[in-house]
């Protein structure tokens, strides 16, 4: 699905320093029955966010007015488990544009990139610095510059560069779509099929 062009973001951030956040937590299976891509944000982190009666759980970070913004800062091994792309849709639909972690599960990373959600992988020590900065001052601004591949804590100027596949970077910056690309090389694919038979 082609998405908007990814611009540099400077935003407050929401800390979720939990390891191994799996996609079953991000969007539980019982909410996967929709046949469109929209509306999954409503049930993002459903069972951490709401109790059985549907009332918000006060101690969960998304219900805490202190933290806002379009950057989610997670713990190590974010997005493990089920390949459901609904997890990336839910995070994006909720309003996040960037997820930061020291380690992403492979499929989640692909899914995020395919949906205009930027996974920013930082070192464990920088992740800790980020979490501390946000938790000690929730109005801390974080800047994510995709062109420069740099994440910076605005106040302190502490920054770290991050990796991204150059092709994926181009796609995000320009809002390109993998499927358009694949369709454009269809002749090559047909050639390939012939060469095998």
């Amino acid at each position: 699905m082609s998405s908007e062009k990814f611009q540099t973001i400077e935003s407050l951030a929401v800390p979720l320093p939990i390891e191994n956040v799996d996609t079953d937590q991000i969007i539980p299976a019982r909410f996967l029955k929709a046949t469109t891509r929209e509306g999954f944000g409503e049930n993002l982190f459903r069972d951490w966010r709401f109790d059985k009666s549907g009332a918000p759980k006060k101690d969960f970070v998304l219900n805490n007015n202190t933290y806002k913004g379009s950057i989610l800062v997670g713990g190590k091994n974010f997005g493990s488990g089920s390949s459901r792309e609904h997890a990336a849709w839910a995070i994006h639909d909720y309003g996040f544009k960037v997820v930061v972690s020291s380690f992403f599960a492979d499929i989640f990373k692909n899914n995020a990139l395919n949906n205009g959600l930027l996974p920013v992988q930082v070192s464990e020590s920088f992740l800790l610095t980020l979490i501390r900065a946000i938790e000690s001052n929730p109005s801390t601004l974080i800047k994510v510059d995709l062109e420069e591949q740099l994440i910076t804590i605005t106040d302190s100027g502490a920054s770290e560069s991050f990796d991204i596949n150059p092709y994926k970077k181009e796609c995000l910056l320009n809002g390109y779509d993998d499927i358009d690309y694949l369709l454009s090389i269809k002749e090559k694919i047909v050639e390939f099929e012939k060469s095998r038979s």
Partner: protein, 466 residues
């Protein structure tokens, strides 16, 4: 030049093109589809005004949402019914073969692929489901993809993929009595953690792996994803060929012989270099069970849950959160806990050998009164075979009932949900918070260990009852 790994051999043969500084364009031989991760992809190609590029290489079945009783009736849950109907509609419209509910080939997508001979050595296979790794047991490169990628395959039979690194895991020696394929893979994941395989594709080798049946190998490859790996594979051998021969979609006659010639070349070269090699001793493996909320949190069933001090300081907070969810105390013995539910089934352990193992174990025994047990075959064919072999009667005599095929309580998208707070011993592959229903608690184990729990009503080392 160093030799090639099995993974390289298959991958390289499927690369249509390389994008400079980017992923490879990888050709996909077989695409499996189910109801949950496909509707948005079908909608995607429709909105582009295109049709499926190679519909003949795609097979679909509804499995996640389906009820496991009264399958002849219309699905009660409205949203589930809608999603399953949508799949039927989409398959009809786009010319995709569908094995719908009540079809003799219906079942969990990863059970029917191998069973029908769709899964073969040397192929690339994908499905919008992480446990596509199961098919690697035949020496194919098989892995799970997201819905955007499902759409790519529908549109062009290709996906864009960065090539993963390669890991070799060998397990040598003999497994002792009561130790099964499930224990092997739970053991491996407990050693390398739920993220230890991230970025890798694993080749499983060694005498203990070779000695596994095809179904055991599928169990191992199925759970390779639970270490974070993209998938796992095992070089084909006589066991593989014997399994494939005569299956519905397998090549037959001279074609089979020809295929065998090329399949025999599918192994890692002696001098192939892996990015990481790990070796384990089969003799150290015992019946395993998980005690936490990710599949890496497993231990020998007779062991104790690790104390907080034994856990790396950075991981302690997550560890304590996990145990708090389970309601378990660090340092306490794993065995002896009261079990409320037992689930035998899923694409990990819902095959005929699993049902045979359970039947043989419970024969002449009785299920504990307080335990609710769900025994769910992975497919219609497994169900039929179980009836034929008298497994159904043995189970019934022991107080169990065989349900109808589907994913069932593995992920609780259907009606089979473990109630809040209840403790389940399950043969499936994920013990995440709420995986088997909101607030449910799951311990993953082998079919034998699950059967033992059903009989005693508590977490029990199955060897004590053999």
């Amino acid at each position: 030049m160093a030799g090639k790994t099995l993974f390289d051999k298959i991958w390289d043969k499927h690369v249509v093109d390389e994008i400079k500084g980017g992923p490879s364009v990888l050709y996909i031989d077989r695409h499996l589809v189910h109801e949950v991760t496909s509707p948005q992809a079908f909608a995607g190609i429709e909105s582009r005004g295109i049709s499926l590029f190679r519909p003949e290489n795609t097979v679909a079945t509804p499995d996640h949402n389906v009820p496991t009783i009264d399958q002849h009736l219309s699905i009660k849950d409205e949203l589930s019914r809608f999603q399953v109907n949508k799949l039927t509609e989409n398959c009809k419209k786009h010319g995709v073969t569908l094995y719908g509910l009540n079809h003799p080939y219906h079942g969990i997508v990863h059970v029917i692929g191998p069973e029908l001979g769709i899964t073969q050595p040397g192929l690339t296979m994908v499905c919008g489901d992480s446990h596509t790794s199961t098919h690697g047991a035949f020496g194919s490169v098989a892995f799970g993809i997201g819905t955007s990628e499902v759409e790519m395959v529908m549109a062009t039979q290709c996906i864009l993929q960065p090539k993963p690194k390669k890991m070799l895991i060998s397990v040598d020696g003999e497994l002792s009595e009561g130790v099964t394929a499930k224990d092997v893979v739970l053991y491996i994941i407990s050693k390398i953690s739920a993220s230890g395989g991230t970025g890798y594709f694993i080749e499983f080798a060694g005498s203990a792996i070779r000695n596994l049946s095809m179904e055991g190998r599928m169990t191992v490859c199925n759970m390779s994803i639970e270490s974070g790996a993209r998938g796992g594979l095992i070089a084909p051998d006589e066991t593989t060929l014997k399994y494939i021969k005569g299956r519905e979609f397998a090549p037959s006659g001279a074609d089979f012989e020809k295929a065998v010639e090329s399949w025999k070349l599918l192994k890692s070269d002696e001098d192939a270099v892996f990015d990481l090699e790990l070796h384990f001793d089969a003799a150290d493996i015992e019946p395993m069970i998980t005690y936490g909320t990710n599949p890496g949190m497993g231990a020998k069933i007779k062991a104790k849950i690790p104390t907080v001090e034994e856990i790396d300081s950075a991981a302690r907070e997550s560890y304590e959160k996990s145990l708090a969810y389970m309601g378990f105390e660090a340092g306490s013995p794993i065995s002896g806990r009261k079990v409320d539910y037992v689930f035998v089934g899923s694409c990990t352990n819902g095959r005929i050998e699993d049902l045979r193992e359970v039947a043989q174990f419970v024969k002449g025994k009785k299920k504990a009164d307080h335990v609710t047990a769900w025994i769910v075959p992975g497919s219609k064919q497994v169900e039929k075979q179980a009836h034929k072999e008298g497994i159904t009667e043995i189970l019934e005599a022991a107080g169990f009932k065989l349900r109808q095929p589907g994913c069932s309580a593995c992920l609780a998208m259907n009606d089979d949900k473990v109630p809040e707070g209840m403790l389940a011993v399950a043969t499936s592959n994920r013990n995440f918070e709420g995986r088997q229903g909101p607030g449910s608690r799951t311990m993953l184990a082998s079919p034998l260990t699950a059967a033992a729990a059903a009989v005693t009503g508590e977490v029990t080392d199955p060897r004590s009852l053999l």
